[in-house]
């Protein structure tokens, strides 16, 4: 049998980037810029999203807010799409959905914690319902070392909706060590 060499140091490393986004009605563009660690490239495999919709209970919740994404490779100033597209085209959005309040009544799944609790509150006082995110398109976007993962998001909230909106973005991918770098020798 062939010799098996396990290279723990140089193998690819899973790295998930999570961001909670809050935006108000008509505030349409935000940027999600994540610096890639020195010595690594980053392979973005897929993206998972979830947002609260403030829709009526008898309507499909995820249609209330549209979120368009644009991926940019900064090292080449290259857009990875011709036009920004809806995130629901690459990721089945998990939504706030409809949940039971325990008495048989359905209510919106987003919950704002009002009690003082010993957790950090980077917009973490808002929770979504535990509906699963389902299918995802594999993106395979490759970002080179010393680059920033630049994701530009445009939101469209229909004008009849009130209040602030929250969105969860989870970028799933792998750090890949750049073996040409001296620090790996």
């Amino acid at each position: 049998m062939q010799k098996i060499n396990i290279d723990i140091i140089r193998q690819s490393i899973p790295m998930f980037f999570y961001k909670r986004i809050k935006w108000a009605k008509n505030e349409i563009t935000t940027y999600l810029v994540i610096p890639i660690d020195i010595g690594y490239n980053y392979l973005l495999r897929t993206i998972r999203t979830k947002w609260n919709s403030h829709l009526q209970l008898d309507s499909p919740p995820h249609l209330a807010v549209r979120m368009r994404a644009g991926f940019i490779q900064q090292h080449a100033n290259r857009e990875l799409q011709n036009l920004r597209y809806d995130l629901s085209l690459i990721s089945t959005p998990g939504t706030d959905g409809k949940v039971s309040n325990g008495t048989g009544t359905l209510q919106q799944g987003v919950q704002i914690i009002t009690e003082t609790i010993p957790v950090d509150l980077k917009n973490f006082g808002v929770n979504f319902s535990a509906t699963p995110t389902q299918n995802n398109i594999i993106l395979n976007h490759y970002y080179q070392r010393r680059e920033s993962l630049d994701l530009r998001l445009e939101f469209t909230a229909y004008p009849t909706r009130e209040g602030a909106f929250y969105g969860d973005i989870l970028l799933e991918g792998y750090y890949i060590p750049d073996r040409s770098r001296q620090e790996w020798d």
Partner: protein, 176 residues
């Protein structure tokens, strides 16, 4: 393997099984209400563990007085951060809500006060896709998972890591 088209060679199969075999590691913990807790699972001295997928579920409860002691509100209260215990390498950049990456996710809890009332108890989710998570956890290390719970009730979660065990002892002769 089509067993009638191929000759089954037990010696060859047993040798291969000693070198690598499928294994699953369960990480299970209960996070206190409004608290934070670090859970870990030992990779042990048996060998490296090459993780390929993970699946998991968690409870969605909050305190209730009627009925006692809690109800399932369907809200995701847990968020966690995964890291490799051998070198403290962070595998998540922040505390990620468990509902974003775990399938099946929400599960029916025995602590739900509405457990016997089928009109009020929401079912747990069905297993969908396992979360791909390819990483080599070194021998003698730990998988660390730091979880925060902002519910008013203690919540249990479980994550199953699906992978391949690579026993060290069986590989000694291949190092030369």
């Amino acid at each position: 393997m089509n067993m009638f088209a191929n000759v089954i060679n037990p010696d060859k199969i047993l040798k291969l099984q000693n070198l690598q075999y499928s294994e699953k590691l369960l990480l299970s913990d209960t996070v206190p209400a409004g608290g934070q807790q670090l859970a870990s699972v030992d990779i042990s001295s048996l060998g490296n563990f090459y993780c390929q997928y993970m699946t998991g579920h968690f409870e969605t409860l909050r305190v209730s007085t009627d009925p006692l002691p809690a109800i399932d509100d369907g809200i995701s209260h847990l968020r966690g951060k995964l890291s490799d215990g051998s070198n403290q390498r962070q595998l998540f950049n922040d505390y990620v809500p468990l509902d974003l990456f775990l399938s099946p996710g929400r599960i029916v809890s025995p602590n739900d006060g509405n457990l016997m009332d089928l009109t009020k108890t929401a079912p747990g989710n069905a297993l969908f896709y396992p979360q791909p998570f390819v990483y080599m956890f070194p021998v003698n290390s730990k998988i660390l998972f730091d979880v925060k719970n902002d519910s008013t009730y203690k919540l249990k979660y479980e994550i199953l890591f699906h992978g391949i065990r690579l026993p060290i002892a069986s590989r000694e002769k291949y190092k030369k």
